[in-house]
Subunit: 243 residues, 2 copies
Amino acid sequence: MAEKTLYQCCAEPQKVDFTLRETLPSLGWQILNIAGKDAHGKGFGVDALNADNHTWVLSRIAFEFYRRPRQYEEYTVATWISDYGRLLSTRNFTLTDAAGEVFGAAVSQWAMIDLEKRTAVDLSWVGREHHDAMVEEPSPVERPRKVRNVTPTATTTHKIVYSDIDFNRHVNTMRYFDMMIDMLPLEVLEGDFKYRLDIHFLKESRFGQTLEVGCELRDGVALFEITTDEGVVAVRAAIEWSK
Amino acid sequence: MAEKTLYQCCAEPQKVDFTLRETLPSLGWQILNIAGKDAHGKGFGVDALNADNHTWVLSRIAFEFYRRPRQYEEYTVATWISDYGRLLSTRNFTLTDAAGEVFGAAVSQWAMIDLEKRTAVDLSWVGREHHDAMVEEPSPVERPRKVRNVTPTATTTHKIVYSDIDFNRHVNTMRYFDMMIDMLPLEVLEGDFKYRLDIHFLKESRFGQTLEVGCELRDGVALFEITTDEGVVAVRAAIEWSK
């Protein structure tokens, strides 16, 4: 059994908005970047998997942020894998400030895909082979919730361009994040709120397609459904905020 | 007189495109993030300036990249300030790989703005007060060139949203970068090219405005002009590529 791995981060000016606090998409980006870095360091990064024509695909993620770091504030991200199911592995994160206070957490669930067959790979062998990399501590917050029945009250369209796509030629997780955040009322991003985000990646979307981003705004929560121009639901998500 | 400051970077999976090399916007982001980090470390970051109601504004930047780092490749960014003029200070960068080869460089020129009066501040006092932070080594590549007379052959529009704006409530430098890169033919980004980018920031653009991005595509070079819906030119730029 392993220990959690720690990464030092800093909310540099490039990462903050006009409230001088790190943006939600930047925090999300940081967390996913650490996932990639940590997997690589432990020998099961996308580069190692690519050799077998496999890759990791993010299936679901939940984030909770109780506050956002101030400009130049330093914080520590701890990450650990708590389990491998047959189809999903669970990677957890906590964000801790200099005073030792946990101000954020995330739980991500990853599938392994065979790039040739485009099907999910049974993860049991990873669990056996990389058992040493697991940490026996449960997820710090509730695992990603399902989001259903979104009835958009507003929609925007987005043509997928080069800067949207990732190493798999699919829209980058964080760009979906941007598209959703950009539909929230500015007050939700300006205020001192606690946030919880649940995102499900149902189907990839690709360069050249046009996405429709639907948002159903309710009291303290926004539901999202992102659909390709072929009518396929790519992402469903919920963003909640509260004082 | 000071020494150049060195920062370690890594082309994690979140930063690469489908060629598995770090994207040009990611390299640019990395360079600008280091500018903010380094200024802060030396006592003249935006946080120190904000106390006097001043801030740094990027006026011009030139990048040269002879190759792009491969996924997970580690590299070193060196940065130093070579001079303070009355209105512009010059911060330089080189990017060096593990073999000691310089594969990229940048020269940035920054103005200091009085946030209340919205005018440029005379930088002479910074030059005097922070003389110790300067390094007597010239810029590694030609300083940002002027770009004039752009006659767009293609245009797109872009409504400015929350995720586009920075701590000054203006469109983030790197989002302009994305908008331009996204208008290039994909072959220019897929191939093994050397790149030079010259970007001039003429006027800020703000949340809620709509930008028109004009691109004039020639042989081996694309010229750009980004205009606000008030008809003001916000950015002019040139991207060159060659084998």
